[in-house]
């Protein structure tokens, strides 16, 4: 029976191999320190944490999570170890709570490998502490016991590690937090909640979008016709047509007619057009996929939700497959071990038979899992085939014909495609990676070679050039999907090395000013943007947004920074950090094209900057993590097909539209 421990209470541990489970409700860091007879942690190699998750006999999670399972094998610990402290800490600098008093009391339990619980303990009574020693496993006369400790530290990990006698406590605490936050920066932001009771925040925009040209006019052909997508050239004519059912409810129709009592901005009374219906399914088969087969108030929103649905389905399908294969392998290992250790099997053929049976069982299960995986992947591939051609420009890849019929939009789309994601099980099945607009965080295009295998194979110059080209493609896409004049791009290129990659932007004339060069140029651009952020912030806080100076550019701002920290003095670095922290809330975003190594001289002061940005790469790289099961996904940047003029053609239209704006 489970013992529920109270603080200070101890309990014997019946076995050496244990699991320690943690449930905290909010993401926490879980780790463990080893102590000698005096309880002293002798060095950093005696601490298991997300940056160094494996020690002999001890394994902890690599990232912060609401639930953890720590594996402990007490017999595998070094002889000199007499204590194991299980610690929890809140991840800092990532916008989460900074004190345990603000989260639910963490629950820890010690279980056997079969899941049978030995003890559990709810760590209550915490307040300003940001780190806590939850449990202590300790040797007493050759036997291991567990004690509920619950000792919190307001000074966080550094204070806790110092208390355990670790000399490098401060440095290690910083390293742990850094490992955690870099893990978090790698995670893809979770999608908006889905499912019943859809309360869509985008209602107003998506409604307005219906009449505009963003929504491909019922662009979902019946699935049979889907492989030949209708290029949405006639959108200007088709848009209003298909939007007509909604606009009749709009306020325009009331002019000169009877009074419309409908609230002018509350438009959800008009039901959205029904989603395209899938044709009836023959029994025993899977339904044919249809583009837009998800919930939403507009085709755009339905496609957005469908893409996220495909992303989740692929993640979960592969999770099912991997867990089945893992299980099959561990079962086979156990059975082979058993066959080996059974003395009867050493003579005769019994051992061979047992081994053959174990292998056959493994192969059968893996084969079944593979079949299910193939079935699901085929279904998702078929769905991709109909969804991709139906995507509006902001969601579409550059080779989608929709870009040839590009028109400058009237409304901001709900999301932007920033790349493709895939898993090693099926590299050609690519899921569009969509992020919400307006951007919630800036982008960091990593030009460093340390990140990925592909990058290591490239020359440093080549990689930097590719990074800048990727940045230019992202900026061009942002300019194209925003209405004319509602998105402004600034460039800091201190040494002018980005000029070739930036040519499509500069030659089309979509930049307000040429790329800023030299230290003075850097200072001028940063001063202007900093001032803008301060002004808008003041106005918002004071509730006087209408008294902003009339010449203030109200567009969203993107600042591309090349060659950082070249040309930056301390003041400029401070301003950049300020923009990273405060900018996104008032529509100022960063796009850093940088190798983190170049800025290593600044030390940890820049860590929050990198952390605040979504890291993407100019070459395929597996560094992104999905929000459901935590697979590592390979990201591929979106680039126009080689030799294609599509970006230049699109930017030419953007430039024309910008010039015709009243100034």
């Amino acid at each position: 029976m489970t013992a529920e421990l109270v603080r200070g209470q101890n309990h014997p541990l019946p076995q050496a191999r244990l699991e320690i489970r943690v449930s905290a409700g909010k993401p926490v860091v879980a780790g463990a320190t080893l102590g000698d007879e005096q309880g002293t942690v002798r060095g950093t190699e005696w601490v298991a944490h997300p940056g160094s998750p494996n020690l002999p006999g001890l394994e902890v999670s690599k990232q912060a999570a609401a639930d953890h399972r720590l594996a402990v094998d007490l017999e595998a610990l070094p002889e000199t170890v007499h204590r194991v402290n299980v610690l929890l800490a809140l991840p800092l600098g990532v916008g989460g709570p900074a004190r345990f008093g603000a989260v639910a009391a963490p629950f820890v339990s010690v279980t056997g490998l079969d899941g049978s619980e030995v003890v559990n303990y709810t760590v209550t009574g915490l307040d300003t502490e940001s780190a806590v020693v939850a449990l202590e496993l300790y040797r007493r006369q050759g036997k291991w016991k567990v004690r509920a400790v619950g000792q919190g530290y307001a000074g966080g990990l550094a204070e806790m590690l110092g208390d355990q006698g670790l000399a490098q406590a401060r440095e290690l605490a910083a390293a742990i937090q850094d490992a955690v936050s870099s893990g978090m920066a790698r995670s893809v932001a979770p999608p908006p909640p889905r499912g019943p009771g859809d309360d869509r925040v985008r209602r107003t925009t998506s409604h307005a979008t219906n009449g505009g040209r963003e929504t491909p006019p019922d662009a979902t052909p019946p699935p049979a016709a889907a492989p030949a997508p209708v290029p949405p050239v006639p959108t200007a004519a088709g848009g209003p047509q298909s939007g007509a059912p909604q606009t009749t409810q709009g306020p325009q129709s009331t002019q000169g007619g009877p009074i419309d009592y409908a609230h002018p901005r509350r438009r959800n009374t008009a039901p959205p057009p029904p989603p395209p219906a899938a044709p009836p399914t023959p029994p025993g088969q899977y339904p044919q996929p249809v583009a837009g087969d998800a919930s939403g108030w507009s085709m755009e929103e339905r496609l957005y939700n469908q893409v996220w649905g495909m992303f989740e389905d692929l993640a979960r399908t592969v999770a099912a497959y991997r867990s089945a294969v893992d299980f099959a392998e561990s079962r086979m290992d156990q059975e082979l071990d058993k066959a080996l250790s059974d003395p009867r099997s050493r003579i005769g053929t019994a051992g061979d038979t047992a081994r053959a049976t174990a292998r056959a069982k493994h192969d059968k299960l893996v084969g079944q899992a593979r079949d299910v995986l193939e079935r699901d992947l085929a279904q998702l591939a078929a769905e991709t085939d109909v969804v991709e051609p139906a995507l509006p420009p902001a969601f579409a890849s550059w080779d989608n014909p929709v870009w040839h019929g590009y028109r400058v939009p009237m409304e901001i789309p709900m999301a932007l495609r920033v790349g493709d994601l895939h898993l090693p099980e099926r590299p050609d099945l690519r899921i569009p990676m969509l992020v919400r607009l307006p951007l919630e965080r800036g982008l960091w295009i990593d030009s460093g070679r340390s990140g990925s295998e592909t990058a290591l194979l490239m020359e440093s110059d080549q990689l930097r050039r590719a990074a800048m080209e990727t940045a230019a493609a992202h900026a061009a896409r942002l300019l194209a999907v925003y209405p004319a004049g509602e998105f402004t791009v600034h460039v800091i290129d201190p040494a002018g090395t980005g000029a070739p990659a930036l040519a499509p932007l500069t030659e089309a004339g979509v930049l307000d000013a040429p790329p800023a060069a030299g230290a003075q140029g850097v200072a001028a651009v940063l001063a202007k943007l900093t001032q803008r952020v301060e002004l808008v912030q003041m106005a918002v806080r004071g509730g006087v947004t209408d008294s902003l100076p009339p010449d203030l550019d109200t567009a969203e701002q993107l600042l591309i920074v090349n060659d950082f920290p070249h040309g930056f003095d301390d003041r400029a670095v401070t301003q950049l950090r300020y923009l990273a922290d405060e900018g996104p809330a008032v529509g100022v975003h960063l796009m850093m094209v940088a190798d983190r190594e170049d800025a290593s001289a600044y030390g940890p002061v820049l860590d929050p900057l990198w952390r605040a940005l979504l890291r993407v790469t100019p070459v395929p790289d597996d560094h992104l993590i999905d929000p459901w099961v935590g697979h590592t996904w390979t990201y591929e940047p979106l680039l126009p097909p080689p030799g294609s003029q599509v970006v230049r053609q699109v930017l030419a239209q953007v430039a024309t539209a910008r010039r015709s704006l009243p100034r």
Binding site: M1, R316, A320, S323, A328, A369, V372
Partner: protein
Amino acid sequence: MVDVSKGSAPGGPGVNLTKGQAISLEKKGGGTLTAVRMGLGWQAAPRRGLFGSRTREVDLDASAVLFADKQPVDVVFFRHLVSDDGSVKHTGDNLVGGAGQGGDDEAILVDLQRVPVHIDQIVFTVNSFTGQTFQEVQNAFCRIVDETNGEEMARYTLDGGGQYTAQIMAKVHRAGAGWQMTAIGTPANGRTFQDLMPSILPHL
């Protein structure tokens, strides 16, 4: 002992289950069962006296434990609402109960076609998180429903069920190419499913 009584769902009469009785989840029409729902409902504690907020609320929790060869592989409960593979989903924690008129206050949906191939048994449990025994809870029931047609296949009445805080309710397990359900209905004690592991293992 937990009372196993006949259900009265709108879709048709439920199966009268006795403890340990196995029923096949294959449909009468020949098709196999593809989705089941475990529903749990109970009546919120009545308001008492002047200080209604001091009512001792009743929080029952439904959990599903996924087993492969008798090893627990995944659990769906109020802190992990979707199994990693997506086949088992919890509709979310209800902390206070409902009207007690037959609607499910918590439900776990299982898409049997999507359950990974190595998972061969799924055990459903109910726990009283706030510690009231089933004797103190009013109008509490749990049931298994065929999601495709809403037909109730099994129902247990929990209230008046004795000095227990938990029940190992039923399991669905693979049989041939399809799935079968076995009613278990064993009372137990514990706050969350972890406490029930020793009581579950004999039923695998």
